[in-house]
Symmetry: C3
Subunit: 383 residues, 3 copies
């Protein structure tokens, strides 16, 4: 059964976050597998969705429980074992080659990327989030005139040991914005307005499209020089998203410019725009994509979601990611559901005569390892 | 086989309309299972689509015919049995717990909601359509200045015995509109323009976004006070729809405000925005959704449509509805196709280890009964 | 097994282009099954996607190779046999009734429509592309004032022996444009600006919405008079597309006008808007649709794509097309994948009781032949 290669091949998780070290109670645990700002309605809980079923079905045995134990029993067992042991077990069981970690989201609540790698017993690499650096620089006391240069300097410095950059422009101002680089004067004006407001409010959250476009274009220069990717968040996320304007085909002009610069763009998540992301991977040489986070949320339907993600897409452009944040369950499930789904899909393709077992093995190698190695030069082949 | 619970559990049809008492000929019968203003092209008929196949396959035996009889034979038999007998048979066979009926659409062509319930032998409850009341008040001879108060009074009165309100804002001006409450002055101005035009034309059809926003916000106050849902039409419908602007994520601002007010929003139909509706159910505590009407139109592919509807959605947020109007066939098929599809999906989830049979039974209980009972306090548990 | 009718029934390919007579090397062959302006990234190739697998799996045996031979071996064999023999084999094996050929795209690189038909041993008919005629007339030296009439005369003349017209308005200015007929003055002004720029640049590429709307409405008059269809490109295509604005529901106003004129509109390709296209086929008497090109690109997932295309759509409105251009492989695969997918879907519908075998045969007859014969009066029943 050559298609067993899916389970024998370690995965590069090209987009994830850090693991939480906290001992999580019933409410805290649920909050970490929800995209909502609020708890579920009274009388209900987060286990009442596909992802909740999958935690009970597949993570429970890793914690020595029967599959399908109640959510309450699961959380109780998790507390009894302790977060350190739970995280070690689930991360080791994920079968990863290495982790590429976005360090720009609630980093004070989670392990560092190196610690997260250690839990998995595998190397971890950093991706720097452009918006986090914009906010860090804004909060540093810089002047409006000095903002652009201070940001460039700081991003360049922070990117030194990174393997890529990431932008959440889709979250902060959608993709339906002008996509050219702003002028220096425009950046200074926008920075002035933002800094004034932020200092009044004491809150440095960047949403101004001019500032973010500046971040993107400075980031693009770094990606070009370093020959590494810019990751773009697409689609699924928390209530900050204006979903209809997060269709990545709104960002075609920027992506096309990056093609000229030979900067790989990796489109993250993409649900519900999986078809659009595939089309972009077909038409632009520099576009890569994954189905991160949504295989976890889809769980029992993850095979069908992955089928949609592979419908017309280029295998040499598709990447694995979990987009896990906080819960080690999400790294483990991400890898498990991806492998289960891909095995079923490829077994079916072979049975129906669309490809050979050897073809299937080559596709596994591409999506598990080779594609990420090709575009992230900073990750070394791990032992 | 615990999953047989799907067929043993009565369904709350949380969104439907009244049944037609008319004796329907070949042309009239077809018109009631089409969303078109025109008949199908010469040489074709409405049976040449999935819904037409399903009527011939599954409704025919209820009328003592062989499955797959011709459309002509079906209509002939229907006329011979008489509408009263056909409606009684199909409604009784639907296995409903109770019906929640929108009384605001072509109500003079159909049975009242009480009569529709009687045909099914089950209780029926009313949902009041905001736009119908706006039009009723406009046609009553009210002045532009008096419109706002007259509407509030009338909607409050009409809502007294209702279990929820409904808006078809997506039909009348799309979701891509400002979503704040309009000022009293703006409402009076808009009412003046509308009433003038309507009195000239003798046609009181509301399409003005200011008037409809007024209706929504007055309705929202009532929903908040009464602690019952506001239903919103989404997606699939007749040629009045500008589909691209009926993506419910255009209405995020209003939905988010209703979350603060703790007003449940039930998104109806949702095709082709089933993914978007699920995402809204994930991120907003107050969002519920269904896949009404489209399982009927999808018929042979209803299992795949329901799979898409359940891909990442919260089971404690998903509701059953038929969205049936006029034909008792549509209530029967709605319930049958929903049960068939859900059984296949849950059987598969159990077989693949994603959930236990007990989990599946609990999901059936939630979507069939418990979710609607939780959010519609006006429906009493029926005997 | 009546459902074998799918393989026994010849297909009308209602939308394709001409076959390339060239001897294609490794690079040239790949370029003809890609929508990109650039080659795939270094170290990868176009065979690493579903369509590449399908060529190796299903076209290889027609060239006397084993299924799943390497892409390199396939191209080598293709060169050894020679394009003429390869094209003859693949086109004959496609099992077509007749071909309806768009002659407006890179026509100097491919066989004429008559030659393409001859390769298949079947009749071929022409569809004239409106934008190609706009550009031909612009390049003829006409004045701005004379443009409108010269275009009308030329399109009328070119349409004389055609069986339909086609527009690629979605490519050139998206569907999100005004949809009324422009005034003569507006056309003259727009023609003046375009002609001036085109003569300066020596490049006659039409993108001005006013000019294209003029082309559409003149074309519509011809379609009305001749009682034949206007084809509209929708969705999937090369980097010229702004995908989010190619949702055909943006073009509802024009389509609704054409319904009044009784002009059939055939929506081509439609991916990722297959659901939207089906909805338009449900609500408008004059709307037809296909899933051309995307079954080829989807290949191993073509069954699921066709399922989505048939989810709620009217069988009497669905057409077969390959959208093949250049490679005879694409005509052959288009027909093969369509037949394989449709057989699986209909076999499943029969097994699940949704339709009878006789129903399935009738659906095959409709989508393979009868629907195209009904709306393209210029195609005669072939021997």
């Amino acid at each position: 059964m050559p298609i067993e290669s899916i389970f024998a091949t370690p995965l590069i998780d090209h987009h994830c976050h850090g693991v939480s070290p906290a001992e999580l109670d019933w409410t805290q645990f649920q909050a970490l597998f929800s995209e909502s700002y609020r708890p579920p309605p009274p009388g209900t809980n987060e286990f009442q969705k596909p992802l909740g079923l999958a935690i009970r079905a597949f993570c429970a045995p890793v914690l020595d429980l029967e599959p399908h134990v109640s959510g309450e029993a699961y959380v109780e067992r998790r507390l009894r074992l302790g977060a350190a042991e739970v995280n070690r077990r689930l991360m080791r069981a994920s079968g990863l080659d290495c982790l590429i970690v976005d360090t720009g989201h609630r980093s004070n609540a989670i392990h560092t990327f190196e610690e997260t790698g250690d839990l998995a017993g595998r190397p971890a690499h950093e991706v720097v989030r452009i918006e986090a650096i914009l906010e860090e620089v804004a909060a540093s006391g810089v002047s409006a005139e000095g903002f652009a240069k201070a940001f460039t300097d700081r991003l360049t410095e922070r990117a030194r040991d990174a393997v890529g950059l990431k932008s959440i422009v889709a979250y902060r101002c959608t993709f339906a914005i002008p996509q050219t680089a702003p002028t220096a004067a425009d950046v200074a004006t926008a920075a002035g307005a933002w800094l004034k407001q932020a200092r009044t409010e004491g809150k440095y959250r960047v949403t101004d499209p001019t500032i973010i476009r500046h971040g993107l274009w400075v980031g693009a220069e770094i990606c070009r020089a370093r020959k590494f990717p810019m990751q773009l968040h697409v689609g699924f996320g928390d209530p900050d998203i204006s979903m209809h304007a997060c269709d990545p085909t709104h960002f075609t002009a920027f992506i096309a410019e990056m093609e000229k610069w030979e900067v790989p763009i990796t489109l993250l998540h993409n649900w519900p725009f999986l078809k659009e992301a595939q089309w972009l991977s077909e038409i632009f040489q520099n576009v890569y994509y994954d189905a991160g986070v949504i295989l976890n949320y889809g769980a029992a339907e993850s095979e069908r979601i992955l089928r949609e993600a592979l419908q017309v897409g280029k295998f040499q452009k598709f990447l694995y990611s979990s987009d896990a944040f906080g819960l080690s369950e999400l790294y483990y499930l991400g890898a498990l559901l991806f492998r289960r789904a891909l095995r079923r899909i490829l077994d079916g393709w072979i049975a129906d005569g669309y490809c050979s077992a050897k073809d299937a093995d080559e596709m596994v190698e591409l999506v598990a390892l080779a594609n990420s190695r090709r575009i992230y030069p900073g990750i070394k082949e791990a032992q």
